[in-house]
């Protein structure tokens, strides 16, 4: 045990010295394996509760060390009808901005618990995603689902994340910020989805973020993904009608596996009329994940954001390098470095971040 922690500490130290850095995205696993999201997750659009295969992957294929079958490891099932899971991420971050003293702190980034109750097998169920901490309990997803999540049509009704582009764990990624569709912005409404062979498609009719307390307005979001073993491509669109101003988003995203490296790319463009005079924004992401050996992944990310296409000299970029070490099933250590580049008169757009994270999941 001591040797194991020594190795973990040594890896973290080396990574920190190399200024390696954090990246929290998980969809690279899908690209590296060629799987659809629904292969490992209960939710066909990815993220959250893992299914039987997802837990098997987490126990056997992902970590550096595979535990013995004799060990009574977590199966995710409390009963035949109730599956639960969760993620806990604890961070240490050091942020440096020009003209400001550096700040460092430990924080509990999140503790989330997921549950899926099967009412009628393969037909009817209830799914819940609840953030327990920090800042008290917060319901992220709660919906009834009817139909097959693996092959055929299904319907969700309730509160859920919208399907748009890569469902990155890093909610601060430019593509997730500019679109405003990420895992901190669930919406209420219905989703009709279709999973078949290489295809995955969703159509959502929801309130729309700016319409939470109004009697009018809506958001339509749709996404289609085609998946092959070593590549995939998706297209997504969203349109919000709102008293606060209409908002239209289009996005293309793709994944490609070249040997041990999985590549993710996404480009989005947004037209937002809620801004005085209207504005058009753009964002792009390129991520490469190199699975060096089993349990070790090196992630490099380059991002671009243009907050207003009609304004010159306001573009921002962001580069990240992160090392992910999964020594054991259900435990991951991450360390990374991220550098923002923006206009020189804005300190926050030029910050640097060093992060270490302990990620426990089940």
């Amino acid at each position: 045990m001591i040797q194991r922690f020594t190795v973990a500490a040594l890896v973290l130290t080396i990574v920190a010295l190399l200024r390696a850095a954090p990246a929290l995205a998980e969809p690279y696993l899908a690209v590296q394996t060629g799987y659809k999201c629904s292969v490992c997750h209960v939710n066909p659009t990815g993220g959250g509760l893992r299914n039987d295969f997802g837990l098997t992957y987490a126990k056997v294929l992902l970590p550096a060390e595979t535990v013995s079958n004799d060990l009574d490891a977590w199966t995710g099932k409390l009963t035949d009808r109730l599956r639960v899971g969760g993620d806990l991420r604890a961070d240490w971050t050091r942020t440096t901005m020009p003209n400001s003293p550096s700040q460092q702190s430990f924080s509990l980034e999140q503790f989330r618990v997921y549950a899926d109750l099967t009412i009628l097998p393969d037909r009817l169920g209830i799914y819940v995603d609840e953030q327990i901490a920090p800042n008290g309990s917060l319901n992220e997803e709660a919906y009834v689902h009817y139909g097959s999540f693996t092959d055929g049509f299904y319907v969700k009704g309730g509160q859920f994340y919208l399907p748009f582009g890569w469902r990155l764990q890093d909610q601060t990624a430019f593509v997730r910020q500019v679109t405003g569709i990420n895992m901190t912005t669930p919406d209420k409404g219905i989703e009709v989805g279709w999973e078949h062979s290489n295809w995955s498609a969703q159509f959502d009719l929801t309130n729309g973020a700016a319409n939470a307390n109004t009697g009018s307005g809506y958001q339509i979001t749709t996404q289609v993904v085609y998946t092959k073993p070593i590549w995939r491509v998706g297209i997504a669109g969203s349109s919000t009608q709102s008293n606060a101003g209409d908002r239209h988003i289009g996005g293309l995203f793709a994944g490609l596996k070249t040997g041990p490296i999985g590549w993710l790319a996404e480009g989005d463009i947004v037209h937002d009329d809620s801004f005085p005079g209207g504005r058009t924004l753009a964002a792009a992401l390129l991520e490469g994940d190199w699975r060096i050996i089993k349990g070790h992944n090196l992630k490099l990310t380059a991002e671009y954001s243009d907050p207003d296409r009609s304004v010159k000299n306001d573009q921002q970029t962001r580069y990240s390098i992160v090392y992910e070490y999964t020594p054991l099933p259900f435990l991951q250590l991450r360390a990374g470095y991220r550098h923002y580049f923006g206009i020189p008169q804005n300190n926050q757009q030029n910050q640097q971040l060093i992060l270490m994270e302990l990620h426990g999941y089940f």
């Binding site: 800042n135 901190t184 109004t214 790319a265 306001d314 921002q316 206009i343 926050q348 910050q351």
Partner: protein, 291 residues
């Protein structure tokens, strides 16, 4: 996969990689700190310091008023330059009404500090989503706001300049220009001078709910009261006695009350324009709240 398609995908990946890696951040030329074009005659905001103008220019305008603006401002709190001071200083918070948003001289008991530091009893830390979706304000930044409150939360230079002109109404929130999307906790009338509070009657007006249609036909009357915070005598607050549901409303001065207010120098100004029935209508606004 056939080789031409594989080659195309590989070349596309290389091209996209090269483009993104080579992409440069803007040099910021001709822009302010928020990345917006500089207004001719304007300039960069003043450095952050413990005065209201600086806090407005560096924090409230670029960060807070992204959400806290217009009819959809959360909790009815508009933090644009025209309204932030009057809706903050001496005004009870809607989430914890026992606390003032800004309690002059007492930052620890000012709700804005609790929200920014993340230990408020209700709701999340501000800016909303921090630190996950955007950075939280740093401790040193919040320290400037704390110091401003400790100093008594004085108004900015704009208020001092406006005081040189005759008594006038500076803004009314909400007004008829756009609907509010949450039940407004109060109607605020901001003046450029401190009011003579001895001339105010606390129950001299009411709020009418109007029937749908062009003609203003009142279908319900909601009592309201007037208050002025001792910390900010420039802002008159009108509090409805119960939450306003969706519909069109107007604030009306009672027939036997004066539609005029006066400052401590004796200047008067009419805040209510007579409507078709001769009643003094302060503000007409729409509430678009779900029943």
């Amino acid at each position: 996969m056939n080789s031409p398609l594989r080659s195309l995908l590989f070349r596309s990946a290389v091209l996209l990689s090269a483009t993104l890696i080579a992409a440069c951040a803007g040099n910021g030329e001709g822009l302010d700190a928020n990345g917006r074009p500089l207004v001719p005659g304007g300039g960069a905001p003043p450095p952050l310091s413990a005065d209201f103008d600086s806090i407005q220019a560096n924090i409230f305008t670029p960060i807070c008023s992204v959400c806290h603006v217009g009819g959809g401002a959360p909790e009815g709190l508009r933090l644009d330059a025209a309204n932030s001071y009057n809706l903050l200083v001496g005004v009870p918070s809607t989430e914890v009404p026992s606390l003032l948003r800004v309690n002059p001289g007492d930052p620890d008991d000012s709700y804005i500090i609790q929200k920014l530091e993340g230990h408020a009893a209700v709701g999340g830390q501000m800016p909303l989503g921090c630190p996950n979706t955007q950075p939280c304000l740093t401790t040193s930044t919040i320290a400037f706001i704390r110091q401003w409150i400790t100093n008594g939360a004085p108004a900015g230079t704009a208020a001092a300049q406006a005081a040189a002109t005759p008594l006038n109404v500076m803004s009314i929130v909400p007004d008829s220009t756009e609907p509010v999307t949450e039940t407004p906790p109060q109607v605020m009338i901001a003046f450029n001078h401190e009011l003579d509070v001895s001339q105010l009657a606390t129950h001299s007006l009411h709020i009418e709910k109007l029937a749908p249609g062009a003609a203003p036909v009142a279908i319900e009357q909601v009592p309201a009261r007037i208050s002025v915070a001792g910390a900010n005598l420039r802002a008159l607050m009108i509090w409805p006695s119960r939450p306003l549901t969706a519909g069109r409303y107007r604030v009306v001065i009672d027939a036997n009350s004066s539609p005029s207010f006066s400052d401590i120098a004796g200047q008067t100004v009419a805040v209510a324009a007579p409507d078709e029935r001769g009643e003094g209508v302060i503000s007409t606004f729409d509430v678009e709240v779900r029943p």
